[in-house]
Amino acid sequence: MGKITLKHVNKSFGEVAVIPDINLTIEDGEFVVFVGPSGCGKSTLLRLIAGLEDVTAGQIDIDGLDATYLPPAKRGLAMVFQSYALYPHMTVRKNIAFPLKMAGLSEEEQEKKVQNAARILNLTNYLDRRPGQLSGGQRQRVAIGRAIVREPAAFLFDEPLSNLDAALRVSMRQEITELHQTLKTTMIYVTHDQVEAMTMADKIVVLNAGNIEQVGSPLELYHRPANLFVAGFIGSPKMNLVQGAVAAAQGADTIGVRPEHLDIVESGSWHGVVGLTEHLGSDTFLKVVLDTGDTITVRADGEVGLRHGDRISLAPRPDRIHRFGADGKALA
């Protein structure tokens, strides 16, 4: 079981309130991603759940029991750190067995569980090596192995892929997702990378300046961002945000249209000049300077023949226009 509830959780370092007030429920078995720009409090929030930091006020329940003042070891959670935090003086086997040894399991039981974890994570051939002799991806697996042997109520991941190269990141992303599908244990995953959030999460929590901006499934956030911050943060390339007369015409302070929801047409409502073009093969991203002075990004076909300086006309798909009020909140 791994249901985690945060009630009015507040964290201050001295005078600075890093997390002013957070209420959040994480259901058992969910894969929840905390995402936000650096300094938004997502790692602090994870460390509060882990018990590595004290809450200043509020309550954290794990499986219905108040865990606010429990030390990390007593919360039944396992954590995978950004640096993996493997014990450099122990072999892979001993690293994975460490939590079991701390829990006082017998040698045979330790070995059985280590073997099982090693099999799941393809580490069987590396059990007698030390972390220093492993590649980044293997270290990552050892860190995960050390987490899963404990059969925790929930896994906490603190930016676990940020030290890996791009290709490895994609494959580890899939491995972690598959692991979640196999284990069906609650996972809380912190990242600043919205692509990781979108691809892995059941539920995304977007954080900004210690506050929750929006909670929802990836597609909910993509299709119905609750405010300008979420609109700008989720989706790649970023949603185009335009103010002024165009927005006013829609009865909004700001309107947003994603690059993929703009069509290049003979005569649309927006006109501009093509600036930078990025050819990705499958797609082409065009920077277009509109006559109003706004610069927007447009996704076009990979084969598009437009070049720098060409004049084009654009039509936003009417049902894909997001409207935001002066307070930044989405208008219904």
């Binding site: 070891a73 003086h89 939590p99």
Partner: protein, 276 residues
Amino acid sequence: MARATSPRRKTLTTIAAWSVALIIFFPVLWMILTSFKTEASAVASPPELLGADWTLENYADVWSRSDYPRFFWNSVVISLGSTLLGLAIAIPAAWAMAFVPGRRTKDLLMWMLSTKMMPAVAVMIPLYLLFLQLGLIDTRIGLVLALMLMNLPIIVWMLYTYFKEIPGEILEAARMDGAGLIKEILYVLTPIALPGIASTLLLNVILAWNEAFWTIVLTTTKAAPLSAFIASFSAPQGLFYAKLSAASTMAIAPILILGWFSQKQLVRGLTFGAVK
């Protein structure tokens, strides 16, 4: 540095470096040479490098006239004992300062170091009287305590600088894995910091071995280490050079050999956080 150097320049710098090193080392070498000379040869003019009549007699003489093994054993017990005790007290303190730093951590460290600036002579008499009261004069335990306290600030400082280089996440991982504080320090911190702890141990064994003020003030015979042994030999000025050299060599040989064997480890650790 993988930089291009002409062979000529390499030869020149090699000669220069070796000359400087030999000049620095020469006094020790000369002492060792003198210890093998006869007394007449030791003061011969012009000086002899090593006479044809070199001898081991000086060593035999010093050995038979003094209880060298006792002094030696006292030195071992006192220097090792004070350092190990110091480590046992300093490791937790350095853990706290490195991993749970507060606003006052740096001040605390500086205060600890400043206690070492108090001239020993200034508090010699009160400490002597205190030790007398506590029955610690001329006991090994007394010297172990005194030297432990004398070197404690250095031990804490060295450990602190090593510990600071260990990522806090590893200790947090241990905490998440269910290790309590003691297990965290014993099973995770200490093994990771072992190289640092080893050089701290080495340096402080050397400092304690070479300590020659408290060892002389606080001992008479039973607990006297080699620094007190040599003090008793240096009295006759300008006389018995060969015997004095033999006794001196015997006093420094153990630590010189230990130091030479562990010099890599020691030098690496001698940085006090000065090298990042």
